[in-house]
């Protein structure tokens, strides 16, 4: 591998890692802060991708279109979805055992998959890359790097920075962190924890949906697309340390790098390398790299 190729592969690894972070960040919010094992997280990612596909014609009819208008309306819908789901289902799960959480969220996967099949069908769909970002940046002789992938990376970085800011620098972040450590104490200080959690959950769902919508033009839209992502997300969250957004960030980059270079250098083992990495890190640090609290 010459230097130029190596650098391009590093870019691939970085870009993949950032996208993984975007999906996993929502999971780490819900899993780490609210203590709920949410298997349906992959479904939210899938819903996002299908929203990008299905909303585009509707939005273009109503507001004259545009990728970003679709993105915004999808985000609004997902916040609403998250809020309602928390109210209807997840709020009953906080004091239950993990097994019951797994059962219910697994049930939700089946429901979402079936709804998707009924509403949109089982075909594979493509989502067009927005005109503005459809070009490529030339790299070396033969290849060019799609502008849209760079855009994804920028969005992911912005969200990572935004989350970091909210968590460490704002009152809301402080309340969320406090709530995850001791729910009753925060409640007795006069903070409406129920509402707070509802918002956090909605934000977690919105992050997954956003990831799905942004990834749709490069990943295409197909049945069962959430399942593969879900497993990788859990790997990222576990490696990073449950509940740590910072940990999820570095873990996602690590997984992206291992996956990318694994495919190139050790193609026979590419399928298992990520899991080997997880096993090694858990041996070294059973709590994950950045376990908080």
């Amino acid at each position: 591998m010459d230097l130029a190729t190596f650098l391009v592969q590093c870019l691939n690894a970085l870009q993949y890692g950032l996208l993984l972070f975007l999906v996993a960040s929502g999971l780490t919010l819900i899993f780490g802060i609210m203590g709920i094992i949410n298997l349906a997280h992959g479904s939210f990612y899938m819903i996002g991708a299908y929203l990008a596909y299905a909303l585009a014609p509707i939005v273009s009819g109503a507001f004259g279109g545009g990728f970003f208008a679709t993105l915004l309306s999808g985000l609004a819908l997902s916040l609403l979805l998250g809020y309602v789901l928390e109210w209807a289902f997840f709020s009953f799960l906080y004091d239950r055992e993990h097994l019951q959480q797994v059962l219910m969220t697994y049930g939700l996967i089946l429901v979402f998959e079936e709804l998707r099949s009924l509403l949109v069908g089982d075909e594979v769909h493509g989502v067009a890359v927005p005109e503005l970002l459809s070009g490529g940046v030339p790299l070396g002789g033969l290849m060019s790097y799609p502008l849209y992938r760079l855009f994804i990376s920028v969005v992911c970085l912005a969200i990572a920075a935004g989350m970091y800011f909210v968590f460490t620098r704002t009152r809301l972040g402080m309340m969320i962190r406090a709530g995850s450590t001791n729910r009753e104490m925060v409640q007795s200080l006069g903070i409406d924890v129920t509402f707070l959690y509802r918002v956090v959950f909605a934000a977690g769902v919105a992050l997954a949906v956003l990831a799905g919508m942004i990834a749709a033009p490069v990943s295409s839209v197909y049945p069962g697309m959430g399942n593969a992502v879900l497993i990788l997300c859990f790997v990222v969250v576990v490696i990073g340390g449950i509940g740590s957004v910072r940990g999820a960030f570095f873990a996602a980059l690590l997984v992206g790098a291992v996956d990318t270079f694994g495919k190139v250098l050790l193609p026979q083992a590419a399928g298992v390398l990520v899991y080997v990495l997880m096993a090694l890190i858990l041996l070294w640090k059973p709590e994950g790299m950045f376990r908080t609290g």
Binding site: Y16, S117, G136, V264
Partner: protein, 386 residues
């Protein structure tokens, strides 16, 4: 009062028994196809095609009425044996038809081989079904993985390419496709300089696309299907490789996926045993009848289902619907010339179609035929001792 009632009931039972004895029994066809999951639409097309031909014959083949028993195989090899047994033991089917997924079809072939029940495979392309697992009662109306791949090897060698990179998923279908391609391409003097693989069904191609760019081959041969095919074609184009390194593939790369691939697929060349724009009287008639019956255009899967029914008809007609004449039934299918929408085909000694493989080019939303890549191509049926 009781006596009268008894007499009435007894009379009714007797009549029913007589009626049943007089009508020749129906032939029960067991359709084992995916009705849920990723392959659901493929299973549906096969079923439609099969039933279209039966309906065209007035619901009867070989003078006997056809009835169906159906099982959703879920494309799950782990449940395959159970599902076949449901059809055989619970529904007592006379003939098995299925399926899309190769792993499931292999399990069906295994059971069919043991029980001797006739099996017609309407899609699954695993070479082994008409190779090492072949049997007198197992037939295929579709293709073997080897066929379109081998034909593409010939085409690309004839175009003068010397160094080619292959890329596919690391699983049976991908391996078989690349092997078939390599066999023809290297026989004609070309060289496969690198075989790239990624685990099935991983669709993160960017790292391997970079490898392709670094290797700078004359062209790329690929096997992907479904969602993977959509994403690969789009990524290949987005990486700017489409204009510098031509991409070729087995036909499934662009079948049923063109709507999603959009402009990124335009101009791609693929090989398959069916194509759009064949414009033969037979194909036009089939497409019209199918569109009329189901309000949608047929695809390669519908065509394969239709031909599976034609093959069954050939066998049943020869024995006048009497499936106990097993050897005659099997010999009749083996010798038949199927008047398929794809063009007439015969069966090889291992019961795989000997057929023309078309070279097709993506134009708009169609895989337009631009020529015949390999005429009357027969799968070698390696490992078959028939």
């Amino acid at each position: 009062m009781n006596k009268i009632r008894f007499a009435l009931v007894a009379g009714a039972v007797l009549c029913a028994a007589l009626a049943a004895a007089q009508t020749p029994g129906k032939i029960k066809v067991g359709l084992m196809l995916p009705a849920s999951g990723t392959y659901a639409s493929l299973g549906n097309a096969i079923e439609n095609g099969f039933k279209l031909y039966v309906a065209e014959q007035g619901g009867k083949l070989g003078g006997r009425e056809i009835e169906f028993a159906q099982v959703d195989d879920e494309s799950d090899p782990a449940k395959a044996i159970d599902n076949v047994n449901k059809l055989l033991k619970r529904d007592n089917v006379d003939v098995l038809v299925g399926t899309v997924h190769s792993g499931v079809a292999m399990a069906m072939a295994k059971v069919a081989k043991e029980t001797g029940t006739p099996l017609i495979v309407p899609n699954a392309g695993a070479d082994a079904i008409t190779g090492s697992m072949c049997a007198p009662n197992i037939f295929r109306s579709s293709f073997s993985m080897w066929q379109p791949a081998y034909a593409m090897g010939e085409v690309m060698a004839a175009k003068g390419y010397k160094n080619v990179v292959t890329i596919t998923w690391k699983y049976a279908a991908g391996d078989e496709s690349v092997r078939g391609f390599k066999e023809a391409f290297e026989k004609a003097g070309g060289k496969v300089v690198k075989e790239l693989n990624l685990p099935f069904p991983n669709v993160e191609f960017q790292a391997l696309l970079t490898e392709i760019a670094a290797t700078k081959p004359d062209a790329v041969y690929t096997f992907f299907a479904g969602a993977g095919a959509v994403k690969f074609v789009k990524d290949y184009s987005a990486a700017g490789l489409k204009k510098s390194i031509p991409l070729y593939g087995s036909g499934f790369l662009t079948d049923g996926t063109l709507e999603a691939q959009g402009a990124d697929a335009e101009g791609l060349l693929t090989t398959l045993h069916y194509a759009d724009g064949l414009n033969t009287a037979r194909d036009n008639a089939f497409r019209q009848a199918y569109a009329k019956a189901y309000k949608t255009q047929p695809d390669v899967y519908a065509m394969q289902g239709y031909d599976a029914a034609q093959m069954l008809a050939a066998g049943l007609n020869a024995v006048k619907g009497d499936l106990t004449k097993k050897a005659e039934f099997e010999a009749a299918i083996e010798k038949t010339k199927v008047d398929s929408p794809r063009g007439p085909f015969t069966l090889s000694r291992s019961h795989n179609p000997v057929q023309d493989i078309y070279l097709r080019q993506v134009t708009g939303k169609e895989n337009k035929v631009i020529g015949i890549a390999s005429k009357a191509l027969a799968d070698p049926g390696r490992g078959c001792s028939l």
